[in-house]
Amino acid sequence: MHETTSTSVDLKPKDGGLLAQFKNPTALAAACEKVRDAGYKKWDAHSPFPIHGLDPSVGIRPTRLPWLIFGAGITGTSVAILLQWWTNAVNYTFSISGKPFFSLPANIPIAFELTVLFAALTAFFATLGRNGLPRLHHPLFNSERFLRATSDGFFIAISSDDPGYRPDSTRALLEAAGAEAVEHMEDDSQINAKLPRPLTIVLVTAFVLGFIPLGVIARARTNTSPKPRIHVVPDMDSQPMFKAQAAFSGFSGFADQRAMRQPVAGTVAMGDRHLDEHLTQGIVDGAFATTLPSEIPMTRSTLERGRQRFNIYCAPCHGEAGYGDGMVAQRAQALGSPKWVPPTNLHEPRLRSQPFGQMFNTITHGIRNMPAYGHAIPAKDRWAIAAYLGALQLSQNAPLSAVPQEQRAALK
């Protein structure tokens, strides 16, 4: 819109052109041909329904919209295939029954739907756009007579913008073409072009306020926060449960005040079925076993296994030779820690006379400061350690007679 200096010019409606009404489609088509042949460019026929065969009379060339819609459809297909390939085969791969991540047959339905969706949306909006709609203000709408154009009226409107437009000669042409009535259209778009002031204020305010949530989101995306994420629906954030040592936890438990049901009497936990007392607890007839269980033969490989396990689990405190001088013990002594309970020297006479079963039991359950290793070392390995320990103790207290004759000289 042009800003004009004189307001009096502004307030006067312009001549928008001529509007002529015709009796029926046949009369309209005949008149259209005359207007077309007179060389007018900015004019149009108006009817309440599409009149088939009118297009050549008005001089309308076939629209190219179908090509646009076709292009949109192809775009939809490509977008769908790319989306499915990138999301499911590249960015976030789903392995489902070992099927390929990308397989065209499984992607056809969505490719088809998006083809139709893109094409249909384009068809709708491109048609409106090419028709210049929505356009709620038009010189035509100032004519009382034109209200019948959507009911049963047939019209030709020639715009005053047409280079060939002359009020008199154009009127004469329309009348000669068989118009029932010809009238001037008023173009008041200069006057009514501006939005009402309150509406402008509302729109500008809404536009400005619309940036606030965007700003908040942009800030949240670029900053860190010590607070947890906002949960719109708390979902599983709050769960009633028994809390140990809490006076009130929001959970009253079962009728017997317990938080969990007891297992059925006689239930045995997985891996807790100890039928062989000798192998699993080191006990024979209520006393510590003095021999290894029959599953653990006293062989070189058992002792080697025992040595390896001993050096991993026991030596850090007890030392590789078993004198209670492992790395941990040496370090604690160096620090002079007052709370340190020194590890036992495994060569004390008290320990040398211990049965294998008792050693096994100590490794399993721990003693004094020593933790239990039952959960960490399988039973057979614990027996191997016990067997190796027997050999280790013997190695440090063997009588000379136990040494082979030919090596006794080396010890002297």
Partner: protein, 476 residues
């Protein structure tokens, strides 16, 4: 103007003589008359008492649906009768039922348009509205069936902080795209076809508010020949797009079942069988709605007996296709030699849900065969009764497919029985409330017949090149 004047009372336009084309519009309606009859409905100064009563009932039921949905969301899906093994129960049955209802609308508006069946113009607006409202009802059910409905957006490929994407090889996701596209495209198609008629209402409006609302909705339509040119081309393309779309939607819905390995579901006949069933149920719903509406709003001259009879013939055809599909399922169950498949179908007909199966067969296979009799397919109230039976039958078809297969699958130790709760029943009834609320609003405020399209098929709408004052006869 027309020289021959037909009255709907004295002229029977349901004749089968192919040499004499029956008129599509009866009575002395000219172009202005069509406008007056159709635009007169939304322009009635006072709303009829019957409309208010029907609207009151529908809104109450829709409100009940809202309350039950709130109860469901607050409490959880346990308020329904769904159990294991029947995890898909009434919500999915209702979803498939409503989607199917919608299909006739698109069929009438798109496929019949492409086939140049001009009789569609009187009923297409009506049927398309039914489509849009039925799809709305349908979309609600899977939406609330997901349980935590505030996470329903996970169904869409939205970038998220978990860096996860939906599984595009799942039929359930195809469903999201198919039904979503269908809902959007049918709404666009409906609105696009309505723009010229909304302009008619705008130009006839007297009140300020009506002028503003219809004016905004008409988007400034002025009936320009250049606009009509593009409009018609686009309408044709939209119809050509909607035609494969409508066939794809119920095929994809059937994939929800057919892609699973469950006996009774895992079958290739499902896509065509579901599409035929959808058209069958949709046309039955159009007749159910059209018979009372044409009387209440005085549209007998536009929606003539011939329209109703044509639809009855479509119901007879698709009903026979559905009956054939039922038979073929049994044949394949036997012919495949698959013991589980064989058991499933014996179980359908004679198991704990035999009552549902036989309701389905009597309503869907036997009832439409009555349309072989001309008396029945040209008497509106008899058609209405048959069509209500078809609607009931088609609901039971989805129930039989969903529930019988799930309740007894491969492992007898996992068998169960499903019974709906009061909430299930209330929500099914409530969904009808939503549908009829929207439909009554449509009848009251929107032109129910596509005026511009009806006018365009009237003889006086054509250009007569060699006019000697002689009017051509009515032709269809």
């Amino acid at each position: 103007m027309t020289s021959t004047v037909y009255s709907d009372k004295e002229f029977d336009n349901t004749g089968a003589d192919p040499t004499a084309r029956a008129p599509l519009i009866l009575g002395d309606l000219d172009i202005q008359g069509v406008t007056d009859v159709v635009a007169g409905i939304p322009e009635q100064p006072r709303t009829s008492k019957a409309w208010w009563i029907a609207f009151g009932i529908s809104v109450s039921l829709a409100g009940m649906f809202g309350l039950l949905t709130a109860h469901l969301i607050y409490t959880g899906t346990g308020v329904w009768g769904n159990n294991i093994p029947v995890g898909w129960a009434w919500p999915i049955v209702n979803f498939v039922f409503w989607v199917g209802i919608g299909h006739a609308g698109t069929l009438i508006s798109a496929i019949l348009f492409l086939l140049r069946q001009r009789w569609r113009t009187s009923i297409n607006r009506f049927a398309e509205a039914m489509t849009v409202f039925a799809v709305i009802c349908a979309l609600i059910f899977p939406g609330i069936h997901v349980g935590r409905i505030w996470l329903a957006y996970w169904m869409f490929p939205v970038p998220n902080q978990m860096e996860m994407w939906p599984n595009f090889r799942s039929p359930l996701l195809w469903d999201v795209f198919a039904v979503g596209t269908y809902g959007l495209v049918s709404t666009l198609f409906w609105f696009f076809g309505m723009i010229p008629d909304l302009a008619t209402l705008r130009d006839r409006a007297t009140g300020c508010i009506r002028k503003a609302i219809y004016g905004a909705l008409a988007l400034g339509w002025n009936g320009s020949a250049r606009h009509w040119h593009r409009y018609e081309r686009t309408y044709l393309i939209l119809a050509a797009l909607a035609t494969p779309l409508v066939l794809s939607v119920h095929s994809v819905v059937s994939f929800d079942f057919a892609v699973a390995v469950l006996p009774g579901w895992h079958t290739t006949i499902f896509p065509p069988y579901f599409v035929a069933g959808a058209i069958f149920s949709g046309f039955a719903m159009v007749i159910t709605l059209a018979v009372p509406a044409r009387i209440i709003f005085g549209l007998e001259k536009l929606i003539t007996l011939r329209h109703l009879e044509n639809m009855a013939k479509v119901i007879l055809t698709t009903g026979s296709m559905v009956g054939y599909a039922y038979g073929m399922e049994f044949f394949i169950a036997w012919y495949s030699g698959n013991a589980t498949e064989g058991f499933t179908f014996k179980n359908r007909a004679f198991g704990p849900y035999a009552w549902a199966y036989w309701i389905m067969v009597s309503c869907n296979v036997i009832a439409p065969q009555l349309f072989w009799f001309k008396k029945i397919r040209s008497t509106p109230w008899l058609m209405l009764i048959v069509c209500i039976f078809v609607n009931i039958g088609m609901w039971f078809e989805r129930f039989v497919i969903t529930v019988t297969s799930l309740s007894r699958d491969f492992l007898p130790s996992a068998w169960g029985y499903y019974s709906p709760t009061l909430v299930d029943i209330g929500m099914l009834i409530g969904s009808f409330g939503i549908f009829f609320t929207l439909f009554l609003l449509f009848l009251r405020f929107v032109p129910v017949v596509a005026m511009a399209e009806v006018k365009a098929i009237m003889p006086e709408a054509h250009i007569h090149k060699s006019s000697h004052g002689e009017e051509p006869a009515h032709h269809a």
